[in-house]
């Protein structure tokens, strides 16, 4: 099942990137006055990629249903999944949006649209790309979820623009070489425009990728001690190779294309085409490793995975605080509450080892909190003592950093 899920996830990323890349190439990279056949070919690839994405999404839904039902999913189960879960609703909305885009693509192709219409179509493709973030690891991040989802969306978008754009560039140059008849400046113009796109995309994907690595991996040992970390390292290796080839293209092939005369132009184009093809293959390898990453537990969860069915907290002496501090801001001392839901607010200094807090009411552990506010549910009437203790990421090591307050529930 995992291999099929990985393949589906990777194919989905590749299809989306190629879809966006071909549209961007048709709308933004292709110089005016180029043969309509090339534009039509780009649109044909874009439409095929979109159809592939929609079909792979259906396969992914069936795989998900298969896991939930432990057998081929019934229509009832699928309907419940699509209507009652956040990920199901996102799937449904994305599939409907994708089908509408398919209609748009048919219209654009039939009317032989160009210019602003193609640019608009490329912009309409963006929500389809970024919506993947709404079912990614980012959406399950407990703290700063909106920031994590935004970073994931930005990363997906930048990667799709770079990787998908490369495939489109390779497609265009190869198409022009086979079909012939392109203006001599086609390769130069497209490479120049793509370079500008890459110069924006690459820094964006590096910074958003670094942020995601930080929240999903957390530490260097996690990078090489967990499956997630190892696959991420593999992805980074592919990325470094791709970036190196891109740099060679930018600093050597691009000037060569611009200055080549008739005799050398063909050889320069051939060389550039090979390098761009290699870059595209590496891009596909990156998308494949990304597909696997979406299925692996993030490295920061390794501590939970290794202690499956964990003893959540074992009584043990509090460890040195090492700079960690916690201060309860709500409830206030002796505050009286009418209901059983007690709003909790606190300030937390994590120090060297602190990660989150455990909340105890009258000495009994009742929950953990990573964000600095939450709700204590189901507190019985009476006078209670709330104690917060700072805990390390392993959920076991409680630090000598705590605060205590008494409150009353009527």
């Amino acid at each position: 099942m995992t291999a099929m899920e990985t393949a589906a996830s990777a194919l989905s990323y590749i299809a989306l990137a190629v879809f966006l890349g071909q549209l961007v190439a048709a709308g933004f990279l292709l110089p005016q006055g180029q043969p309509a056949t090339l534009r039509r070919s780009l649109l044909k690839w874009a439409t095929t990629s979109l159809i592939l994405f929609l079909l792979v999404s259906v396969a992914s839904l069936i795989l998900q249903g298969n896991k939930l039902q432990r057998g081929f999913p019934s229509s009832d189960l699928l309907w419940r999944y699509l209507t009652l879960t956040q990920s199901g609703q996102v799937w449904l909305a994305r599939e409907i949006y994708g089908a509408l885009l398919l209609l748009l693509m048919a219209l654009v192709t039939r009317t032989n649209a160009r210019g602003n219409v193609l640019r608009a179509a490329a912009l309409f493709a963006l929500p389809l790309i970024v919506s993947r973030s709404l079912t990614s690891h980012a959406v399950a991040v407990r703290e700063d979820t909106a920031l994590a989802v935004s970073a994931d969306a930005l990363h997906l978008l930048a990667t799709a623009l770079w990787g998908g754009g490369l495939v489109a560039l390779w497609h265009s140059l190869r198409f022009a070489r086979i079909e012939g008849g392109e203006s001599p400046s086609l390769a130069t113009a497209m490479v120049n425009r793509f370079s500008r796109l890459a110069l924006v995309s690459v820094p964006l994907l590096i910074f958003s990728g670094l942020y995601q690595s930080w929240i999903h991996v957390g530490s260097f040992p996690t990078l090489y001690n967990t499956d997630y970390g190892k696959v991420l390292l593999l992805k980074l290796t592919f990325f470094a190779l791709m970036l190196s080839i891109g740099a060679v293209n930018y600093f050597s092939a691009k000037p060569l294309l611009a200055t080549a005369d008739g005799n050398t132009a063909q050889a320069s184009k051939q060389k550039a085409l090979r390098r761009i093809g290699l870059e595209s293959v590496l891009g596909i390898a990156i998308f494949s490793s990304t597909g696997l990453l979406t299925l692996l537990p993030p490295g920061v969860h390794a501590v939970h995975q290794t202690s499956a069915a964990p003893t959540a907290v074992s009584p043990q002496p509090l460890q040195p605080s090492e700079g960690a501090r916690v201060k309860i801001l709500s409830p206030a001392p002796d505050q009286v509450f009418a209901g059983d839901r007690i709003p909790l607010k606190f300030s937390l200094t994590k120090g060297k080892r602190g990660h989150h807090v455990h909340a105890y009411i009258d000495g009994e552990l009742i929950g953990m909190f990573e964000s600095k506010q939450g709700t204590l549910n189901g507190v019985a009437p009476g006078r209670h003592t709330l104690e917060l203790r700072v805990v390390a990421a392993d959920h076991r090591t409680e630090l000598a950093a705590k605060d205590r307050v008494e409150f009353v529930v009527k």
């Binding site: 419940r80 939970h304 995975q305 189901g378």
Partner: protein, 99 residues
């Protein structure tokens, strides 16, 4: 292949409690989808001692009510679907001490 794990459970995993709990509550490491998540508590002979529907008391916390428990050991079987689409399951245990 799993993502949401119990971070805190009440009763604690492997704990021995003096008073029989009236519910089991599990806080997971990620927000979860109630519609495809379940908790079943069983006694030593496999009899189900939980009753009613699983409740979602916070986006990452589930609870289920228990029948009055006698002294003995109990297992808490859980399966959840996290919001990032992954399914996890596992078993926690606790014991009610003899008075």
């Amino acid at each position: 292949m799993a993502h949401a794990y119990p971070a805190v459970s009440i009763p604690n995993n492997d704990a021995t409690v003096k008073e029989p709990p009236r519910e089991v509550r599990i806080q997971f490491t990620e927000p979860i989808e109630l519609a495809f998540s379940q908790i079943t508590v069983k006694g030593a002979k496999g009899e189900v001692v939980s009753h009613g529907k699983v409740r979602q008391v916070a986006n990452d916390t589930l609870a289920i009510d228990l029948l009055p428990l006698a002294a003995g050991s109990y297992s808490v079987e859980w399966q959840v679907l996290s919001v990032d689409t992954h399914i996890t399951d596992g078993t926690l245990r606790f014991t009610v001490a003899t008075k």
